[in-house]
Symmetry: D3
Subunit: 142 residues, 6 copies
């Protein structure tokens, strides 16, 4: 009996899309208003999807309190109320939500109580991104 559980976390952060590989004109051409030097920001919603056997005694895939504690330490304490561009993980990468999803996927691979299926990040109510790790298999919707 393999089930999936998904849990949503919320944080607010600012960022600026900019790469040193381009000059100012190229940066503006590629990133548009997201290249504003003073930055802008979002309320990000992260949905973590895990899978595993349903424990026949507890009826659970894993302990949500344990997952929340992991997320508090490794996700929210690091990202909430920050400027993403100042974080180590974006020192050499543009702070797009694609790269953010990949970084959060890396983080939750450290949660060992269930199998990480995918990270889903909503940047606005109309924009979202998914990352399921390197895989040959075309993922379904992710």
């Amino acid at each position: 009996m393999k089930a999936h559980l998904s849990r949503r976390y919320h944080f607010s952060a600012s960022h600026r899309l900019h790469t040193d590989a381009y000059d100012a004109a190229q940066n503006f051409a590629v990133f548009g208003k997201c290249n504003n030097p003073h930055g802008h920001g979002h309320n990000y919603t992260v949905q973590v999807t895990l899978s595993g056997q349903v424990n026949p005694v507890t009826g659970m895939v894993c302990d949500l309190a344990e997952l929340d504690e992991f997320a508090q330490t490794n996700l929210l304490d690091r990202f909430d109320h920050t400027n993403l561009n100042t974080l180590d993980c974006f020192a050499n990468k543009v702070s797009t939500t694609e790269n953010l999803s990949i970084e959060i996927h890396r983080i939750f691979q450290g949660f060992e109580a269930a199998h990480l299926e995918q990270i889903h990040v909503e940047e606005t109510s109309n924009n979202s991104f998914d990352y399921a790790g390197e895989t040959d298999l075309a993922p379904g919707r992710i």
Copy 2:
């Protein structure tokens, strides 16, 4: 032309997470505040995903009115405004949303007008669970 359709149903119920396999201290350690002896409750949202060929004459995978009637009789009339722990299906199983998803999946396998792909249950706006049946294939997002 195979398409998927998803339809959402809503019910309100109470439950208590508790197993006779554990003593009081173990139950509290595993289930925390969800082990409160008097129970608590949720507005549950169930999303049923079905697939099938799109009928070339009607343009439909199946008749939604027929699906709604099935859901009324087999899902809503059984679960809405109940205490899940008093239902037969939870006599020997903890009423977690994982187990609830599996039970609802069992129910909708009885709907024969389309192929059941998956059951998605939202317990709160931040918590959801999916069950797609026993399968070797790593399901996509589910």
Copy 3:
């Protein structure tokens, strides 16, 4: 590093479910109140899911401004504030959301900057449809 991005577009349209292959009684039996001769309508939400390698310089799967421009010309300018039944694509097909999803999938195959994974269309807050093209692979959730 293959990621998915999903973007939502919104339009309002009217339609009537009706096929000339059936007589009036059959149409009413199959389509019910959706067969009302004067039509009815919806706020449709379309979610387009694309996949691709994350560009190592820009950190993006594709340019969202380019996607928005494509969607404006090919989706919104054609469907928003229309009666779906008057459009060429529904001249010989019932304007169900299944058929609408298939048509929108056909449209976004013309967007070449990323791989089209799937089209998701919400007709109401409780009803949605997905089309991922002809495929042998059982799609995940889609």
Copy 4:
């Protein structure tokens, strides 16, 4: 102990904004794409707000089942899956959401179990209208 209760109802309908008082050019100038001769449509959400003393025995302002029955007969059976322009109430009035709110307010004045405070109608997720009847008092938010 005077409290307010609000209950939401949902229906889908089509309409066309057009007045015989204007010629074609004026209609288009005033109503734009909403003047499309074939119409368009929406998922309308109606929120009815009632007030009254909280009954000291039942703890209720009024019986919601009674309100639902009234709404089914007088609101949903009349408006759901219709073309608003074909209804008597819009024979001589443009079917704007302002006029729809006023008409629904007129209807719910017939519900006598509590005092009608206001009708709120959402045409899309970004557009809403409120009508509280003729009143000297500047209503609060309504």
Copy 5:
């Protein structure tokens, strides 16, 4: 410069609508399925609206961290994951959302850093209740 701030809190609880003043048949007639002896439950959303002068130095009506601490102690620790009927405040009152709103209004009158305007409680996505205290003034929408 008087502004209003509203903050939402969420808890899950069960309840049963029942009064000892009625016999079984009367209870069922008045409360219907909500009278189920084993109870049912909801995800409740509470929105607290406060008003006050905007402090010219801090730009704030009051300190949200202080409000959150008050809400944690006085609202969430008391109501979350409980059976409302077992709480002192419902010992002699039916646990309707009208009475719940009045009780929560009483609680937040103890928060002294701003003026309490109103309590709004959502029981389901279609049902909500508001209480603004005893007042001669017909509140607007509240």
Copy 6:
């Protein structure tokens, strides 16, 4: 026939809560994590509520296309994808959502086609602020 219409606009921005009137320790004590020197950000939703007589010919309070054009020029072009602290209006004021609401209220007083009732700004899904101008009258919910 006086009705209210409300229209929602969305923008993304960053900000930092900080006042030169306080030293670093005081700023942190008052603003907490919102005082992070590198800032953070939000998806802001602004709801503008206007009132007016329903025009007996057009059935409208005012022209929404005209309102959208005003909002594009005066709200979105100024605030979207910016750092609020770099704007003139926050040169001498903390960029709290209270002050943002007051500034947006000032802006929409320039829209002359209907009476401005109130500005509602959502900073996150749990936090919102309202400003209705200087008034003796206790506003309802606003």
